[in-house]
């Protein structure tokens, strides 16, 4: 019975998407989306519980045994990432009601929620599937719907941002397709576990190495790993607030999951260390952390500042992944989960400001912190989490990343992580300074606090930031098991 959970998790939003599209404009589409995402959160929670307590879930579509049929294979990693995606969606949708009514044209609202559910389906599908071509299809479902969603932003730059993302995203997906084709040509299979059993004999082949490189570059584009991150700042800045929250917290994380899965489960142990991939991940991680943080400092738009900071945070995950050690991958998975919480909360709070004053440029938000204390509080706490102050989730992930770097005796990386945190103090400080310490530009303007429906989901994520900063059993414990489930060998 448990195995059906994994299928329902993808099928429910997939069926709901066209239903939502034909509903009349109003609040019904939102209500259906709310029901669907809550149901998925419940299912994802049950799935994680079942995987942790009862073991792996294998689901064979139509009873066709893999490698012929498509199979879902859920272990601790998928279950954790799926729970994260479903959890973020379930808090984003309540937040969406008012924000979407403000930012999206009324007749487009059903289509908006329909595209949102499709994007959700795609992301869940990527995490659930055990078939590498099925993964490509889900990748394109989520990508195509996210291009459409980004283009719905209220400024015209949203269109060019969506177009740029479409071009780069499609290049990335096609690179992935080339890689899959090359590996298929040598192994004759698309099932991940089947690939894992056939690849060890032929790791010396050039075709396999080429295919591996294509897959990694393709997903590095999707992950927005420095220097392939050019689409990200504009896409996050100009997308509707809700979509920025959702994509920032889930899309890049799912791409990271795929990279982990392919690096450690599909390819045999030791394959990566014989390629320059790890050095490249480490290098682009370090440069990404530094350049992303420095560029964030110079932004005048808060959303763009946070988007550049996302590039830096992805750099931390790449650094953890590049160690190929249990400790490093665990740190990456912890940061994947925690970063979703902090960026989700930050973008939600910024979205609440946009909801009230229609913009989030530094000069327009001056002094607003005193008029919107709850929104300001959310930004402050999740900003501290982004910096990595003890007692917040951000501290836990940085701590484990530093431990992983120390284990490798890589002092440069330790220095980069600490320096990156210092830079984060500067850019978070800039937002706080503008919101609270600068005099208001327009003293006559009184801005009301954001509505409760926007604040409640924001504060749920803020509390999650504090909770997972104090109680590390769930994140660290599950992340450790997840890293083992991936097949990272303890050295």
């Amino acid at each position: 019975m448990w195995s059906h959970l994994s299928l329902l998790l993808v099928v429910i939003p997939l069926i709901a998407a066209p239903v939502v599209a034909i509903l009349p404009p109003g609040r019904k589409p939102w209500l259906v989306a709310l029901l669907v995402t809550s149901a998925c959160l419940l299912l994802a929670g049950m799935q994680l519980w079942s995987v942790l307590n009862l073991g792996l879930i294998n689901y064979e579509f139509g009873g066709w045994a893999p490698p012929w049929g498509i199979a879902y294979r859920i272990d601790a990693v998928n279950a954790l990432v799926a729970l994260m995606v479903a959890g973020i969606a379930a808090v984003t949708v309540p937040y969406a009601l008012l924000s979407v009514e403000k930012e999206i044209l009324k007749h487009q609202i059903p289509l908006f929620y329909s595209a949102f559910l499709l994007c959700f389906t795609g992301l869940l599908g990527i995490t659930q599937t055990g078939d590498i071509f099925n993964l490509f299809v889900f990748l394109e479902i989520s990508s195509l719907s996210s291009y459409a969603l980004i283009s719905l932003g209220s400024k015209r730059q949203a269109l060019t941002a969506a177009y740029q993302y479409l071009i780069m995203g499609t290049l990335g997906a096609t690179f992935f397709l080339i890689g899959v084709g090359l590996i298929y040509s040598q192994t004759g299979t698309l099932n991940m576990m089947d690939l894992a059993s056939r690849l060890p004999e032929i790791t010396g082949l050039k075709t396999i190495h080429t295919g591996f490189a294509f897959i990694m570059i393709g997903f590095a584009l999707k992950l927005a790993l420095f220097p392939l991150h050019l689409w990200l700042p504009n896409a996050y800045t100009y997308a509707p607030s809700v979509i920025t929250v959702f994509l920032a917290a889930t899309a890049t994380k799912v791409a990271l999951y795929v990279m982990l899965r392919i690096l450690f489960t599909v390819f045999p142990d030791g394959f990566v260390t014989n390629t320059p991939a790890n050095d490249l991940f480490l290098l682009s991680g370090i440069v990404g952390v530094l350049s992303g943080s420095v560029r964030a400092i110079y932004q005048t738009n808060v959303k763009k500042l946070l988007a550049h900071s996302s590039v830096a945070q992805i750099g931390y995950m790449a650094i953890g992944l590049s160690f190929s050690s249990l400790q490093g991958v665990t740190a990456s998975i912890i940061h994947l989960f925690n970063h979703a919480l902090m960026k989700g909360a930050l973008f939600m709070a910024v979205g609440a400001i946009v909801f009230r004053i229609g913009t989030c440029r530094m000069e327009n938000i001056q002094g607003l912190g005193r008029q919107m204390p709850w929104t300001f509080g959310a930004i402050l706490v999740s900003g501290l989490s982004l910096i990595g102050v003890p007692g917040t989730a951000g501290f836990v992930s940085k701590w484990y990343l530093v431990l992983a770097a120390l284990e490798q005796q890589n002092w440069v990386v330790v220095a980069v992580i600490l320096f990156g945190s210092l830079l984060a103090v500067v850019y978070v400080g800039k937002i706080v300074e503008a919101l609270y310490f600068k005099p208001a530009t327009n003293t006559n303007l009184t801005v009301k606090e954001a509505p409760t429906l926007l604040l409640a989901p924001t504060w749920i994520l803020v509390f999650a930031n504090i909770y997972f900063g104090l109680d590390t059993d769930l994140t660290v414990g599950v992340a450790g098991r997840a890293a083992q489930a991936l097949g990272v060998v303890v050295k």
Partner: protein, 118 residues
């Protein structure tokens, strides 16, 4: 020379791939970029299709007296990928129409100029 003849399918695909990729990178016209993207994708489809050929194999339809069939799986995969490609092109072109309405141009440098002058 033998290498060229025996690998001509790959060489054609790589040639097309580079044309498409170069067009995407170098052209400033948004429609031409999408054309380039299409050529790039089609070259990948060709790689898959040529992979599926089995020497002396018949079309993969069960017939009496035929022992060797070509591999039908890549065809099916590419059918899916073609659909994805069509959807991407449609969405890309729709975005270009909206960009033309919003900016009055589809040249990348002019769009940048308009955004920066704000």
């Amino acid at each position: 020379m033998d290498f060229v003849v025996s690998h001509y399918n790959y060489l054609i695909a790589i040639f097309l791939m580079m044309i498409g990729f170069y067009t995407v990178i170098s052209r400033g016209n948004l429609i031409k970029k999408i054309v380039g993207l299409n050529i790039f994708q089609v070259s990948v489809f060709l790689i898959y299709i040529s992979l599926s050929t089995v020497k002396g194999g018949a079309a993969p339809i069960i017939t009496e007296g035929v022992k060797i069939y070509s591999n039908p799986l890549p065809h099916v995969l590419i059918l899916t990928a073609i659909v994805v490609g069509v959807a991407t092109t449609a969405l890309g072109l729709a975005l270009v129409v909206r960009i033309k309405e919003a900016y009055g141009t589809i040249e990348e440098d002019e769009i940048h100029k308009q955004d920066n002058s704000l």
